[in-house]
């Protein structure tokens, strides 16, 4: 392999510099969005503005998901094209694993809790 093909190779791929296309406006937009998406859940919980706790819980979880996406795009510069799509692939795989681990643990342990006999009933059964 001679130096010409090496140079051609370096031109083709642009390894490594896919992360450097960050801009001031991108960071600021991400920051402002994050501040808003953080402030609203804190305000909702601290003021108790929504009538039911369950609705508040669902709303602040939705805000968290949106803010995570905002961070991914504006701070971590995630895009389907970065690293020829392999970053996105790893991310999707991780999200699948996290969802299985979290929902599975909560589901199984919750059922286990409700199927177990409480201690005080157990002592009364002798």
């Amino acid at each position: 392999m001679n130096t010409d093909t090496r140079a051609a190779h370096a031109d083709d791929h642009h390894h490594g510099d896919s992360h450097t296309h960050s801009t001031f406006s991108g960071y600021m937009l991400g920051f402002v969005l994050s501040v808003v998406l953080t402030a609203i859940p804190f305000w909702l919980v601290m003021s108790g503005a929504l009538p039911s706790k369950q609705i508040t819980a669902l709303v602040i979880m939705a805000f968290a998901v949106v803010q995570i996406v905002v961070h991914m795009i504006y701070f971590l510069h995630m895009s389907p094209k970065s690293e020829n799509g392999w970053s996105m692939m790893a991310l999707i795989f991780t999200i699948v694993m996290v969802v299985i681990a979290l929902s599975g643990s909560l589901w199984v342990m919750n059922h286990l809790n409700s199927n177990m006999m409480p201690m005080h009933e157990m002592t009364g059964m002798k």
């Binding site: 390894h15 960050s22 501040v35 804190f42």
Partner: protein, 209 residues
């Protein structure tokens, strides 16, 4: 991709891939570091799952409502968010090759990170002083493990930050240092992403319960 045929002495052809062209140094670092972050994400997922399962087992001890002060958590959250944006500014000034400004933004990032750790440690000290130690209940064990692991990550990030400031001071913004700063950028922003989960699921939902 080409397959080269190398006739060996026995006459049988030996096949091998001849695409081992040289890569520039560190060309795969960002993908490799991303995969590390994803594996770190799994650690946090397990700790979140443990907290989700054990978070309501107070063992007649203090509940989140008695322990957490949301204004303090809000201040802590803003410290981490501000450190994220100042690290972003450090990356922007790095792109413009301004060493002094990059160092300044890195230092400001470090101070915000230090403030975050300081507030978190004082919160922990206050809780432990009130008897809410990790041994008190399953909820507190899960809480200290999850939030403590995040705090440990931030502390490691701070050590890394200081190391890189020394590196940049010594060698300037050379290619290797740019790559390292890029990795720390991903690490730092990733910790902010994890903190979104912590303040939502541990603090806000805890107080709501």
């Amino acid at each position: 991709m080409t397959v080269a045929v190398n006739p060996s002495t026995t006459g049988e052809p030996v096949f091998y891939l001849a695409d081992e062209h040289p890569h520039p140094e560190g060309y795969s670092t960002s993908l490799g570091f991303w995969i590390y972050l994803m594996s770190d994400c799994l650690i946090f997922a397990m700790l979140f799952a443990a907290f989700g399962v054990l978070g309501a087992n107070y063992a007649a001890g203090p509940a989140p409502k008695d322990l957490f002060e949301l204004p303090l958590v809000a201040v802590n959250t803003s410290m981490l968010l501000l450190s994220s944006i100042t690290y972003g500014f450090a990356m922007l000034t790095m792109q413009q090759n301004k060493i002094a400004q990059t160092q300044m933004w890195l230092a400001i990032t470090g101070l915000f990170g230090l403030a975050f750790i300081g507030i978190e440690l004082s919160e922990f000290a206050h809780m432990i002083h009130e008897g809410a130690t990790p041994q008190r209940s399953a909820f507190l064990s899960a809480f200290f493990t999850l939030v403590g692991t995040h705090g440990l990550h931030v502390s490691c990030g701070l050590i890394w930050l200081v190391t890189l400031m020394v590196q940049v001071g010594k060698f300037g913004l050379i290619e290797a240092n740019r790559r390292r700063l890029m990795c720390l950028s991903m690490f730092w922003h990733f910790l902010d992403v994890v903190w979104i989960g912590v303040f939502t699921f541990v603090y806000l939902l805890g107080v709501l319960r």
